[in-house]
């Protein structure tokens, strides 16, 4: 095999990494390099340095260390039965690439995954070595996200946590059945154990910090950015209730920061076991909205489930609106009197608008135009609120209120 240049390797190994969506450079401990050697800073929130035409942001250098792999997961372009062109970075090449990009302000840091070569332990060692070299040899203080090989030795995973801001293990598919069918070498048990180990490491570090006798005693940081996971949507038969149930269990059980939902995307050189569909992007979007309802709006998983029909979230309207239409007894909400929970249930009001309403109404009694100044659009909100000068009247309980919000049916083109 001829030697590939770094650019050729980059082209192959970035392409191979494009299906992992869990790559936001999210909040982590604040750091900077003033007065120290080395380089890099983190500001507590991610920065998107560029955007590709899929609307996704480029925040990190997202690559595989290698796309050789001994596993044969059906949905993966790098599976052993795939005919994709293979390449491999040396740790030194990858470290140089990361630093070169970082110095030019192209990226916030590195997101590193890998196909499994030789063994899970060997692969994990290589990943950890890249992170170690960046931190210790080059004084790199930017963001590092390492994918965790679930089957690797827990000691290696603990070591990874000392250098990385975030670790993630992909849950891959929302049900055990799906995993068995499409990723036979992985088991739900191993994946969950790895997530449990990371959680234990985070908890142990927090306790060590709290229990230290001297305030100044240094406790090495362990994944300050927490852990996350990703599941593929639309490759198997799991419905949205299955997905939301799995998700809420993961958040509770493993203290995850984020669950990512990745619409199953057709890949070049696909396995015949998989549907050659268009990626269900709208379904993915609704799942993220449902995820937000759970995490920021105080909805319980059961309430979200109640807004589905036949186990699936409504594609035409967002799940919060869907819930509101099915629970008219909560509305209209008086913006001058209701509490935060009630306000958060109003379609069209987000946490920031609610905060502004609560603050403004201490100073003045709110009218409809005041609400208009504090939110994006009034149209959605009108049937659900009462202000000093507005009451929806019969609008709230209108039979076909839903029709106001669904997009008008489009004339299908004969020539599409």
């Amino acid at each position: 095999m001829s030697m590939l240049t770094v650019i050729e390797k980059l082209s192959i190994l970035a392409d191979a990494a494009k299906y992992d969506a869990s790559c936001a450079s999210s909040g982590t401990a604040k750091r900077h390099s003033v007065g120290k050697s080395g380089l890099g800073s983190t500001e507590g929130m991610g920065i998107c340095h560029a955007y590709t035409p899929d609307g996704r942001c480029i925040s990190l250098l997202k690559v595989l260390l290698t796309n050789f792999c001994i596993f044969d997961c059906r949905y993966c372009i790098n599976r052993s039965s795939s005919n994709v062109k293979r390449a491999r970075f040396t740790p030194a090449e990858l470290v140089k690439l990361t630093l070169d990009f970082y110095k030019r302000n192209y990226i916030e840091g590195l997101f590193l995954s890998s196909g499994i070569i030789q063994s899970p332990d060997y692969t994990m060692e290589q990943l950890v070595e890249v992170a170690r070299s960046l931190r210790q040899d080059h004084g790199f203080r930017g963001y590092i996200h390492l994918k965790t090989i679930a089957e690797a030795d827990p000691a290696l995973i603990q070591k990874a946590g000392l250098y990385a801001d975030r670790l993630s293990v992909n849950i891959e598919l929302p049900t055990e059945k799906g995993l068995k069918a499409y990723a036979p070498e992985k088991t739900g048990q191993t994946i969950r154990k790895a997530m449990g180990d990371v959680k234990q490491g985070i908890v142990a570090q927090k306790e060590a910090r709290r229990g230290r006798l001297l305030k100044k005693a240094a406790v090495p940081k362990f994944v300050p950015g927490g852990q996350s996971t990703q599941m593929i949507v639309g490759a198997d038969q799991a419905n949205d209730i299955d997905i939301i149930t799995t998700s809420t269990k993961l958040y509770k059980g493993y203290q995850l920061r984020r669950v990512y939902y990745s619409a199953y995307s057709p890949i070049p050189d696909a396995s015949s076991d998989l549907p050659p569909i268009r990626p269900p992007l709208l379904r993915e979007h609704r799942l993220y909205q449902a995820d937000w309802m759970f995490r920021f709006y105080g909805f319980s998983p059961m309430e979200i489930g109640a807004s589905t029909s036949k186990g699936m979230l409504d594609l035409d309207i967002d799940p919060k609106l869907s819930w509101a239409l099915k629970h008219r007894e909560w509305f209209p909400v008086d913006v001058n009197k209701a509490d935060q929970t009630q306000l958060l249930r109003v379609p069209g009001l987000g946490p920031l608008s609610v905060k502004r309403i609560l603050s403004a109404r201490r100073v003045t009694t709110l009218r409809l135009q005041d609400i208009g100044k504090m939110t994006l659009s009034l149209k959605k909100i009108l049937p659900f609120i009462e202000t000093l000068d507005w009451s929806p009247g019969g609008l709230t309980d209108m039979e076909n209120l839903r029709a106001r919000f669904t997009p008008a049916p489009q004339q299908m083109s004969l020539f599409a």
Binding site: V6, I7, L10, S11, I12, A14, K18, H32, S33, V34, G35, L39, G40, S41, I47, C48, H49, A50, Y51, T52, P53, D54, G55, R56, C57, L61, K62, I70, D72, R79, S80, S81, S82, N83, D100, F101, K103, R104, N105, Y106, A263, S265, P266, I267, P268, D269, A270, S271, P276, I277, R278, P279, L281, S359, A360, R362, V363, T364, D370, K373
Partner: protein
């Protein structure tokens, strides 16, 4: 009518000193006109030097909520020519209604919040879109970088400390049309603005970056509106990867279609070989 001319576009301390003086002399917002250094001379005469006579004889106390100071320091960097007047209007009204800022539906307050949001967004975009090019390296191995950027508002002073925290061990300059930020390892200083031709034309690593940009994009997920809403076209001419975007968009649909219609290929023999190996072992 008092006319106040500030010495720089973002002279917050100057604005503040004068605002206090004006208030103590009971000069209401309607009777003052503020100007930045670049605003053209109007029909009205010369600006009066307000740091003139008059001790402050009034004992009335003057307080401003801390939040106002924080918001005003950012809002003053905005492009809006009338920002000094509007800030003074708020300052004046705050003396009578100290809780004014809590009411986001008030016209002046919502202007201030909108300005603040625009400035914070502009600063964030500057942190995101400044792209350095390597100028050279000295004998000790210390590297030099330069960048050209066109911010929408006067935010160089607000945005550049970020780069100092991130890159203290390299020398760098960021050139913008109205101001240049210079870091030499010791002090962050500011000089006059410059031009795009002041920085190197290219950089060897840019090819790698462009390769990366093209490779990471998934053509099955085309969403151009989402991209342009976060990376507005006004920034494109200074981003080395932007000229790749039109062809990525144009070929996306074909690439996606190809993935769906391509016949499934024969599985690579490695998979079968590994399975057989595993069976032999177990």
């Amino acid at each position: 009518m008092k006319i106040i001319q500030l010495s720089s576009e973002t002279d917050f301390e100057g604005w503040r000193q004068v605002a206090k003086l004006l208030w103590y002399h009971h000069i209401s917002p309607q009777n003052v006109m503020w100007r930045g250094p670049s605003t053209a001379q109007g029909l009205f005469d010369q600006a009066e030097d307000i740091r003139w006579r008059g001790k402050i004889t009034s004992r009335a106390s003057l307080t401003v909520p801390r939040q106002f100071i924080a918001l005003a320091k950012r809002a003053i960097c905005h492009q809006d020519e009338n920002r000094f007047d509007k800030l003074y209007q708020l300052f004046w009204r705050l003396q009578k209604s100290p809780r004014l800022l809590e009411n986001a539906s008030d016209r002046d307050v919502s202007w201030l919040l909108a300005c603040d949001k625009a400035i914070r967004r502009d600063v964030h975009k500057m942190h995101a879109f400044v792209r350095f090019r390597k100028v050279g390296e000295d004998q000790a191995g210390r590297e030099q970088f330069a960048a050209w950027f066109e911010p929408t508002h006067y935010i160089v002073g607000l945005a550049t400390p970020f780069f100092r925290r991130r890159f203290p061990n390299m020398d760098w300059v960021i050139v913008t049309p109205y101001q240049t930020a210079i870091w030499n390892g010791e002090d962050l200083t500011f000089g006059p603005g410059g031009q795009k031709s002041d920085i190197p034309k290219n950089d060897a690593i840019e090819d790698q970056w462009r390769t990366y940009f093209s490779s990471i994009f998934n053509p099955a997920r085309l969403k151009v509106k989402a991209m342009t809403s976060e990376m507005p076209k006004k920034y494109w001419h200074n981003l080395p990867e932007a000229d790749l975007i039109p062809s990525l968009i144009a070929t996306a649909q074909d690439r996606e279609l190809k993935m769906q219609t391509d016949a499934v290929t024969t599985p690579h023999p490695l998979a079968a070989h590994l399975k057989a190996k595993q069976k032999a072992v177990s």
